[in-house]
């Protein structure tokens, strides 16, 4: 409880300075269509996004970040904003991965990340899937996934990830690690919360209207 409260006040403090910062999310999905959608949704949440098409490419990217901090980017990863070396060397704050992918699945990727001895083992991982399979969900959560989201994703699903992102930044600021060592009961609670929060997310909510001033003439 005490740790929880400390975390919350730290989160509140960092939240202000976070307004300026942009989280860097690594999005993993084998479908170009899904990657485009993920990228847009994440950028809508003010995140910098790097999209890769497979678990192997994701690990390659993470390794390369680790060992070549200041070097310019690997050309296999595509980035949403301009290719500045600074962004390519940016630490990953969150990994979002599709579950069903050919070759290395999202689950395999999750296991590899969480089981590694590199700094990125503490990066929060979110698994997404179009299939609602409870055993799959609990498997991922037990392996250390922060959330398991169901496709099709809505903007609200990603906005709900903000606390996880903030948590990871607080960790890197404080150099403490609060994300591991949750007992089984916590995972079960988390799963219930995820399912509940997903259901809540699905109910109609006031849309964030954006004007569509398509003043550009169609060529």
């Amino acid at each position: 409880m005490h740790i929880q409260m400390e975390l919350q006040s730290d989160v509140a403090d960092t939240q202000q300075q976070m307004e300026q910062q942009h989280f860097h999310v690594l999005a993993v999905d084998d479908s170009p269509f899904e990657r485009k959608l993920l990228e847009r949704l994440l950028r809508e949440c003010s995140c910098k996004v790097t999209c890769v098409e497979s678990g192997d490419k994701a690990l390659e990217y993470l390794n390369q970040l680790d060992t070549h901090q200041s070097n310019s980017a690997d050309s296999t990863a595509s980035s949403s904003s301009s290719q500045s070396p600074q962004q390519e060397g940016l630490k990953v704050n969150l990994i979002i991965t599709d579950y069903s992918m050919p070759g290395m699945s999202g689950y395999d990727l999750l296991k590899t990340v969480k089981g590694s001895s590199s700094s990125w083992k503490d990066v929060p991982v979110v698994v997404i899937s179009s299939e609602n399979v409870p055993s799959r969900i609990s498997m991922c959560l037990q392996e250390g996934a922060e959330e398991f989201l169901l496709k099709p994703l809505k903007l609200s699903d990603l906005k709900n990830l903000q606390p996880h992102l903030l948590k990871s930044l607080v960790h890197s600021n404080e150099d403490t690690n609060c994300s591991t060592d949750t007992g089984n009961s916590d995972n079960v609670v988390k799963m219930n919360n995820n399912v509940i929060s997903k259901r809540i997310a699905m109910s109609p909510e006031p849309s964030e209207r954006r004007p569509k001033p398509k003043e550009l003439a169609v060529v």
């Binding site: 479908s31 109609p204 209207r209 004007p211 003043e215 550009l216």
Partner: protein, 154 residues
């Protein structure tokens, strides 16, 4: 036709697509992601969906044409099509895919072929409708108007 009329026509047309179950709420989600900095987002995403879908439908057709059908492979393609059609809001295509997967599980070739036909029909139907919708939008913009936002409640 003046801009106001065109805008009303667009709204009515879009509404009808929802009423007929051709599109669902997920399409509205996509529209909400379109703004000044991403003015063509919906068209871009839908175009990707069209490319994806047509390739998958071809792959499925070829796979079902084999002497010995590789059902796990067909199922994987259908799964992908189901995912992208769901993400774009193409409800009838998505539902067709759900039905298709049952036939795959049963390894039922005839059922699968019939289902594929059905899905193809639904796909071309939604493609035509969406292309018509985008044309309406273009007309409005060309006439100097702005594309009206869909209301979530109707």
């Amino acid at each position: 036709m003046e801009v106001g009329q065109m805008q009303r026509r667009l709204i009515e047309y879009t509404k009808s697509l929802f009423m007929e179950g051709i599109l669902d709420d997920q399409f509205l989600q996509l529209q909400q992601l379109q703004d000044e900095s991403n003015p063509d987002f919906v068209v871009e995403v839908v175009s990707l969906f069209f490319q994806d879908a047509e390739k998958l439908l071809n792959d499925i057709t070829r796979a079902l044409d084999q002497q010995s059908v590789d059902f796990p492979k067909v199922d994987a393609h259908v799964h992908q099509l189901k995912g992208s059609s769901a993400s774009v809001g193409a409800q009838r295509v998505k539902n067709g895919c759900i039905a298709f997967r049952n036939f795959c599980e049963e390894q039922n070739v005839d059922g699968s072929l019939r289902c594929l036909q059905q899905i193809k029909q639904e796909y071309y139907h939604v493609k035509n409708k969406l292309e018509a919708l985008f044309r309406l939008e273009q007309q409005i913009v060309a006439a100097g108007g702005s594309v009206p936002m869909m209301e979530l409640s109707f």
